[in-house]
Symmetry: C2
């Protein structure tokens, strides 16, 4: 399948940034403080390990928490945005967001954004999110399965948010649709067994160790 699908991912115009990570997550803040705490932890870990955050460029919700925390801690953030979104005034950005270190890359479509993000990074991390986050995580996983790239995907299983996806994948393996060796394409970072410890757990450190 690799050769046939190659047109999906043209060579990037620039070489990938060394040690960059794409983060997928919700544009809402979520109902549990453990979610934003995990986002803070991830932002700190990325900055501390000098790993560039590549993301969709928004400042709302969990997305804004991760990017803000990277910047506050002296890290590097690259936002990849469709031109039409920037021309239209962004995604409801807050003007007081700390975006002075943000490098922006403008692309022509939502699909180009995904390709640009994927080609610029060495790995993907998913925090809790909605349909869009599910789709992004599963798309880069599908690309790995097809041999289009070979980059790890780690999901931060905060409050067991991603547990049903693990069950879906296991069920599909049992049903014969996913090969058993492809179960490992998604790494679930589980954190402590006791959910009450999830708010203070260092998800960022655990995520970077897992990749």
């Amino acid at each position: 399948m690799t050769v046939e699908l190659a047109p999906l991912l043209p060579p990037p115009a620039q070489k990938p940034v060394t040690s960059a990570i794409a983060v997928y997550c919700g544009s809402c803040i979520g109902t549990q403080s453990a979610f934003s705490a995990a986002a803070v932890s991830l932002g700190r870990a990325l900055a501390g390990a000098d790993r560039t955050l590549v993301y969709g460029g928004g400042s709302n919700g969990i997305m804004g928490v991760v990017s803000g925390e990277v910047l506050i801690n002296g890290g590097k953030v690259i936002g990849v945005l469709p031109r039409s979104m920037v021309a239209g005034g962004g995604e409801g950005e807050k003007n007081d967001s700390p975006k002075i270190f943000l490098d922006e890359i403008l692309v022509d479509s939502m699909h180009e954004r995904k390709i640009e993000m994927a080609t610029r990074v060495d790995g993907f991390i998913g925090l809790p999110g909605g349909f869009g986050t599910f789709e992004e995580v599963l798309e880069v996983t599908t690309w790995t399965q097809l041999g289009i790239h070979d980059k790890p995907v780690a999901l931060l299983n905060v409050l067991s948010f991603w547990e049903p996806l693990r069950a879906l994948v296991k069920g599909s393996i049992n049903a014969g649709f996913i090969k058993p060796q492809h179960e490992q394409l998604i790494i679930f970072v589980d954190g402590p067994e006791d959910h009450s410890e999830h708010e203070n757990f260092d998800w960022g450190k655990a995520a970077l160790e897992a990749l």
Copy 2:
């Protein structure tokens, strides 16, 4: 978000086919005969209701069962394939597949294939599958959520295959990342409570009623 994201789905070159349905499913046959039985049932129902099947064009696995059954029952099938895949000899097609009524639409990339399929249909049906199927189902759902289109997605919950996805969506609503009113964006067609009846259940009829 609608206006900003419009470039994702340009107007189709041709008007959508009336009453066409896109089907997403696995390219393997699966370990349980209930899966292929559901595919047979769906193919018959599409042909019987004169609803055109729009799909990825392969003849392997569950995909081949659905398309073959539509054709055998006098229905119409449109396969949407990237040119590179056709030039490369297809996806390991069987030469004896009953493809004489198959209309082929050639596109330039995997991404164009998805757009072409989505714009040509009135709704989407998902049978059991793997990562690629998960991604396709969640992508069209995301497009509905963003207001890019307004087309129903029904998943055939054969042997409760899709149950974990329902749990993932419910969990994300509770977590505050998916709006409660968006739970209905994916319709789960559950079939009989007793799994032993799933092999003979008329999934196709139930799916068309649900859309």
